[in-house]
């Protein structure tokens, strides 16, 4: 999901748009039947710039074409909304990344603990066995000594 927004960010959106608002109204008037434009860029261009595999998402975002009553106000409002959407999208993506990173860290920790546990248990068994063997050997020796007593 994240790859759609690769390369598209709030900052890149700002860099690409021209500064004068007059050009916005010109572009809007020139292409009345096309998609609403933001900052001189057509929505289609904006989407295709980001990633090659955009086909399905491009169609989903197409807005019905209509002539805005107050060109400057409308485009400014649309622009603000678009900025907010971008902001929200980035924030959501950061939040998802945070959640994933936390989960990954937990999984790593669990794996590490399991293997440590396994190693420690194995070591414990080995040591216990060694202690037992030592005890057996010790008792055997004492018994033999009493058996072989001359009297």
């Amino acid at each position: 999901m994240e790859e759609v927004w690769e390369g598209i960010s709030l900052s890149s959106l700002h860099q690409d748009k021209p500064s004068t608002p007059s050009s916005l109204s010109v572009t809007a008037a020139a292409a009345p039947s096309s998609l609403t434009s933001v900052g001189g860029m057509v929505l289609q261009d904006f989407l295709t710039r980001g990633s090659p595999k955009v086909g399905r998402d491009g169609e989903g975002h197409r807005k019905p074409s209509k002539e805005p009553p107050e060109p400057k106000q409308q485009t400014r409002g649309v622009e603000r909304q678009r900025k907010r959407m971008m902001h929200n999208r980035e924030s959501a993506s950061r939040s998802r990344a945070r959640k994933r990173a936390y989960m990954d860290e937990l999984e790593k920790e669990v794996g590490r603990l399991r293997s440590e546990n396994r190693a420690l248990r194995a070591q414990n068994e080995k040591l216990q066995k060694a202690v037992e063997d030592q005890l057996c050997v010790a008792t055997k020796r004492t018994l033999q000594r009493t058996l072989t007593a001359p009297f």
Binding site: Y102, D104, R121
Partner: protein
């Protein structure tokens, strides 16, 4: 039933907190060793959390670094710590290397003033150099004193990066300002190379809404 929080706060317990008791003697290995290595690369919290990429480059973690606040709060990647818990400098243990190798620690926050618009990226909180291997940061020279994290906007990442120095006293001087710091540039200027260890935690305003 209370559901587990999305961003759990590390209160007095470490990452290695107790897991529920299991009755098996030998745990079956879930993945082969090579699979584990591949998985580690794919789901590295440092990559997923965008630490590798925005602050440092991909590196090979050759040293083990353990950062602990207040003797009991261990810093784990992506875990959250309250600002009140990180007021004083943590204990940073460098495990690995020997007494003759020296390390530099940098603590930085790339999300200043806020993660959605970090125009002051990065803000450096702490720089310690000449830390001898197998010891901790208190044995090094504090080039830049520890500044308590006080995030005001959003959720910040606070990253500890450890570099191995090529020789002793190789770090020149502290930067003039803490803002607009660049860990990459700092490493380049002081010939530190790629990091050898990194860990980060998340932090936000003390009174921020955490469980919406």
């Amino acid at each position: 039933m209370y559901s587990p929080p999305l961003r759990p706060i590390n209160r007095g317990s470490s990452c290695t907190s107790a897991l529920p008791n299991t009755n098996y003697l030998v745990a079956p290995l879930p993945f082969t060793f090579s699979e584990q290595k591949v998985m580690a690369r794919l789901s590295d919290p440092l990559v997923v959390g965008r630490v590798i990429g925005e602050v440092i480059d991909t590196f090979n973690p050759t040293m083990k670094m353990i950062v602990t606040y207040n003797c009991n709060k261990l810093v784990c990647n992506g875990h959250e710590l309250y600002p009140s818990a990180v007021v004083s400098k943590p204990r940073v243990e460098v495990q690995g290397g020997d007494m003759r190798s020296f390390f530099t620690l940098v603590m930085t926050d790339p999300d200043v003033p806020g993660p959605s618009d970090p125009y002051l990226r990065e803000h450096v909180h702490w720089i310690v150099t000449d830390i001898p291997g197998t010891t901790d940061a208190s044995f090094g020279k504090e080039v830049l004193s520890y500044e308590s994290p006080r995030p005001s906007i959003g959720i910040h990442r606070f990253i500890f990066v450890l570099f191995q120095q090529k020789r002793r006293q190789s770090v020149a001087a502290a930067p003039a300002t803490r803002d607009r710091f660049s860990t990459r540039r700092f490493a380049e200027d002081n010939d530190l190379g790629l990091p050898v260890a990194a860990v980060y935690f998340n932090g936000q305003r003390e009174t921020a809404a955490r469980r919406r």
